[in-house]
């Protein structure tokens, strides 16, 4: 191969070099400033105690009464995620109307800010805050999921509404339909498949979130896991983790199937 005939690779611009250098500094600084205890992980002593710890998980607790309890917690988790997503679907759509500039520029800015705040606080942090108002249990978890997901879906819906061609809606408006009728019969049917597919995608996320929300006391499988782990009931904890995995996989499968149906494949 004659290398002289190849064009040289494109030179990196100084800005790119700077970005890469910045990244390198960030990585090095991260590793050096953290007080990482690799020693406690890789000494013979630590290896033995951690393998003992992990060995404690086998075999998972499989007694029927316990399995029933786990199944109840799984159903609770599932309900939390489904309800939270449903509330978020309704609220998100309601907020997306002003958020897409249908009620003026000021309303749009205010609602977008509100959606951003809702979205940037994660479910778990919402749960911790809502525990004060709603008390321990799955209700706080449901509200937390709804709060965060409203932010996410509201923003996505508002964007979808803004990107929609306006002709259909305007035709109805010109012919005398009220703004809300025009929305329900022209805009909504057009974005509905996209809307449902976003919602299903968030539901997949929420089932994962719902599984862990209980760690701070918001009900479901997470609460059981935290409880058993803090008492070093390893075999029971293993069952809970398995239940989480099975539930997540089932919901992923169901949601994948529904989305394919929605897209008409």
């Amino acid at each position: 191969m004659d290398s002289r005939e190849l064009t040289p690779p494109p030179a990196m611009t100084p800005a790119t070099v700077l970005v890469l250098l910045g990244l390198l500094v960030l990585v090095i600084a991260s590793f050096t400033t953290l007080d990482l205890k690799w020693g406690e992980l890789f000494t013979a002593d630590a290896l033995r105690s951690s393998s003992e710890f992990l060995g404690g998980f086998a075999p998972p607790e499989m007694a029927t009464p316990y399995l029933i309890k786990v199944a109840q917690a799984t159903w609770e988790t599932f309900s939390m995620s489904a309800l939270g997503t449903l509330i978020a679907l309704v609220l998100g759509l309601a907020l997306a109307l002003p958020g897409s500039g249908r009620f003026g520029v000021t309303a749009r800015a205010v609602i977008r800010l509100k959606l951003n705040v809702l979205r940037s606080i994660p479910e778990l942090v919402w749960a911790v805050i809502l525990l004060i108002a709603a008390g321990l249990g799955p209700f706080a978890g449901t509200l937390a999921l709804a709060a965060h997901t409203t932010g996410v879906l509201g923003r996505l819906f508002a964007d979808a509404l803004e990107n929609l061609p306006r002709e259909h809606e305007e035709t109805l408006r010109i012919n005398g339909a009220t703004p809300m009728t025009a929305f329900f019969y022209a805009a909504l049917p057009q974005i509905l498949p996209q809307l449902l597919s976003y919602t299903l995608y968030r539901w997949e996320n929420n089932i994962r979130a719902a599984a862990i929300l209980g760690v701070v006391g918001a009900g479901g499988l997470g609460q059981m896991l935290k409880y058993h782990l803090s008492l070093f009931h390893m075999q029971q904890a293993a069952t809970v983790i398995l239940a989480m995995l099975v539930m997540i996989m089932l919901v992923d499968g169901a949601s994948f199937w529904m989305r394919r149906k929605l897209n008409g494949v």
Binding site: L34, E40, N116, F139, G176, A177, L229
Partner: protein, 278 residues
């Protein structure tokens, strides 16, 4: 689409079906409302209102003494550092797993259209390993590691490294397989090694997408590391957990502000990086 006839008596021809659907949905919803103890009225009983009010009234003004802010700054940096180190370790694990899992880098597939049995076996086990790594939520990994290595950032870094290596490995393999494999195949057919085919064929084709996904995951890792603080894995989450337990509204409110700013900043940085490196 059902065009509305403003003159007809029933403007919506799908009216019956929709009402039926709503009734069925409500019937399904009922057990779920039961299971999640959905009782909105408890939000408005006197005790819960007064404790919420007490907590929220502490929010203004946010805590802003210099020592507190210094502590907060340090915790914030710790959060970013946990996310970054975790992601770097995840990359170190994900890259070799990706190479194993990517089908378009298979040599034996070229001749017969099928992979050799052993290659199929290796590829499948790599994929299953990736599935297991990412299916266990990061918070659960964190809970386990806190019990092995003790409280502090080490558990957070390990949890992010494990979960994210699973996610990165899977998505990298998908990106490499879905991008144009012409160059890779030409290289492999002409006898180049697998690594060379990766570097000169597959990577240039897909680098933009790979970088963009990695920065997006870095953003997610920052959020994740905040959350893991709540089980004792260090950073701003652990501080927030402590302040919440003392119901210190002023501290929580400044932490929430810092947190929203941190997420917004990470968003900006990652958009910028995607533009620069893609």
């Amino acid at each position: 689409m059902s065009a509305a006839q403003p003159t007809s008596k029933y403007p919506d021809p799908a009216w019956h079906g929709r009402v039926m659907l709503a009734v069925v949905a409500l019937l399904l919803l009922w057990p779920m409302l039961q299971a999640s103890e959905f009782q909105p009225w408890i939000l408005f009983d006197k005790q819960s209102l007064s404790s919420t009010w007490q907590f929220l009234s502490g929010f203004v003004p946010p805590a802003h003494s210099p020592e507190f802010l210094a502590m907060l700054l340090e915790a914030t940096w710790q959060t970013v550092a946990i996310a970054t180190s975790g992601l770097v370790l995840a990359l170190l694990a994900a890259i070799p797993l990706t190479l194993l899992a990517t089908a378009s880098l298979s040599v034996s597939r070229l001749e017969s259209g099928r992979m050799r049995n052993i290659a199929v076996l290796v590829r499948q086990s790599a994929r299953w390993l990736l599935v297991v790594l990412r299916s266990v939520p990061e918070l659960v990994w964190a809970l386990l590691f806190v019990r092995i290595v003790g409280l502090g950032p080490t558990a957070g870094v390990l949890a992010i490294a494990l979960t994210y290596s699973g996610m990165l490995g899977k998505v990298y393999a998908e990106i490499l397989e879905s991008s144009d494999t012409h160059a890779t195949e030409a290289l492999l057919r002409n006898g180049s090694g697998r690594l060379a085919a990766l570097f000169y064929g597959a990577l240039p084709e897909a680098s933009a997408e790979l970088v963009s996904y990695t920065t997006y995951r870095w953003e997610c890792a920052i959020r994740g590391s905040v959350i893991m603080g709540f089980v004792g894995a260090g950073g701003i989450g652990q501080r927030m957990d402590e302040s919440m337990k003392m119901l210190a509204g002023a501290e929580v409110s400044s932490m929430l502000i810092i947190f929203v700013l941190l997420v917004a900043a990470a968003d900006q940085v990652s958009t910028f990086m995607r533009k620069r490196l893609a």
